[in-house]
Amino acid sequence: MSAAAQPSASRRGFLALALIVALLPLALPNNYTYEIAIVVGLNAIVCVGLNLLIGYAGQISLGHAGFFGLGAYGTAILAARYGWPPALSLPVSVLAVAALAWLVGRPVLRLKGHYLAMATLGLGIIVSVVLATEDRITGGPDGMAVPPLWVTGEKSWYWIVAGTLLAVVWLAQNLIDSPRGRAWRALHGAEIAAGAVGIDAARHKLAAFVLSAALAALAGALSAHYAGFITPSRASFLHSIELVTMVVFGGMASTLGAVLGAAVLTTLPQLLAVFKDYELVALGALMMLTMIFMPRGLVPTLEKALDAARRKPR
């Protein structure tokens, strides 16, 4: 666990990820596989942010798909209905979602305990209902068309998403190793002791929550312009649970774990069509098995096993 926090170890992980991302196109035979890779990348951006909140600051959000959806619809509505250029509507949408997260999080995070989970659960459900019913603005359940960014085509989008993901991972790793990251981890480790060394719990939980919501909105906004068409389904409660499962499965308090969790849980259902009808059951089973057999999640468990194997010969 602490090994992941060492700058050198996280830098190695970052380089490995960069290498994989750079070489992956060689192994992608067609547009369909590119599309999967892009969706993996977008989910990974959300998960890296969600992991800052869950794995490091120790708070749970059950409404991150709502922020994803709001980011997507925000830029879509500004661009399609009001004619804003996407280069403007996208950042404005992300900032607006961050502001909303701040408004929701501020009163809730003053309370001790898991009230954020309840508040975000409610918020997520409200968002998905509003997106589906306000059909004059959002197109309702049928969805709406979104003007494209200045680029189109799977290959260009791959590099946009890949570049954004690498930047987000790099920024997140820096953050975790900074005084602020330590303050967040301290809150998770022992909130009382964090207060006794001057860490303001409410303020830092709020910062982690707003940042993670903004990253979800960023991924949502990118996905809207990439797909050219959005429906409220991506803002659903089920998708929120999917995102939390990705983080828990990949490994809480591991940025690379969040990326890997997103990759596995995005590609598996695509490859195994069997899951289609049993997605919820499969998610639940995976969550339970993770908790029972590797409560730390995939990447931290592997790290520990590797560490043990390396020490044995001595």
């Binding site: 926090a5 005084p179 602020r180 480790g189 006794a196 060394v197 001057g198 910062a207």
Partner: protein, 252 residues
């Protein structure tokens, strides 16, 4: 330096602390003793903002602190350790101490994410300072250890190193020697002296009477949440009410 006035705290029907007033002079080691359940830890929680008093006021350098959240007590210069360990088990020993210095590491969110050279250099200093503090408490070789793997005695000292990293002017130590063997207790004794020599005022809650008598200039005796006696160690140890409370005429 610290003045507590008429502090009172009750939990349901239990009056944990009632009408306790005392003053701690700068540069002294001030001990709080008393039998189990006398209200020592509750008093320490009040003095560090972890519990809010029902009545009374706490002045630190004439600043009224009662009712404020814990992080403002820390910012004012009051640090503490915990009897029931409150270690950041998700971090290494060095990171625990580095986190302890948060108040002196102001760093915006953008800087934290972009890690400019200025921050990288500051972090290097923070890391060195943490190592220095770990050496001071005798944990130099544990710096990179996962805290989960550290023995109890080492974690007790890690608590002290983390509290010192915040550079407190007043340090509240909650039973730093509890659960330690005699040789470890002697080390804590020396450590408390060296902390006092650094000019840090210490409030020590402790069961070990030998330790208390050796290191403190002033002793406050609590009994059933009330102040029973106060004075220098010798006065207190000869005080009839204290002798009676300690020799245990077992009244409720």
């Amino acid at each position: 330096m610290l003045r507590a006035e008429n502090l009172a705290k009750r939990f349901g029907g239990v009056r944990a602390v009632q009408d306790v007033s005392f003053e701690v002079a700068a540069g002294t080691v001030h001990s709080i003793i008393g039998p189990n359940g006398a209200g020592k830890t509750t008093l320490l929680n009040l003095l560090s903002g972890i519990e809010q008093p029902d009545l009374g006021q706490i002045f630190f350098d004439a600043r009224a602190l009662a009712g404020k959240p814990p992080h403002l007590f820390a910012a004012a210069g009051i640090g503490r350790t915990f009897q029931n360990l409150q270690i950041f088990f998700n971090m290494s020993a060095a990171e625990n101490v580095m986190a302890g210095g948060w108040l002196h590491q102001a760093c915006g969110l953008a800087a934290a994410m972009l890690r400019p050279p200025r921050l990288a250099r500051a972090e290097q200093r923070v890391r060195e300072e943490a190592r220095g503090l770990l050496e001071l408490v005798g944990l130099g070789r544990w710096a990179d250890a996962p805290t989960e793997a550290m023995p109890y005695g080492a974690l007790k000292r890690l608590e002290i190193a983390r509290a010192l990293a915040a550079r407190p002017r007043l340090l509240l130590l909650d039973e730093p020697a509890a659960g330690l063997n005699p040789s470890e207790t002697r080390e804590i004794d020396e450590l408390i002296r060296s902390i006092a020599e650094r000019g840090i005022t210490v409030v020590l809650v402790e069961h070990n009477m030998k330790l208390v008598m050796e290191v403190s200039q002033r002793v406050l005796v609590l009994h059933e949440g009330r102040k029973l006696a106060e004075g220098d160690p010798r006065e207190v140890s000869e005080h009839p009410a204290v002798v009676e409370a300690y020799l245990g005429t077992e009244h409720a």
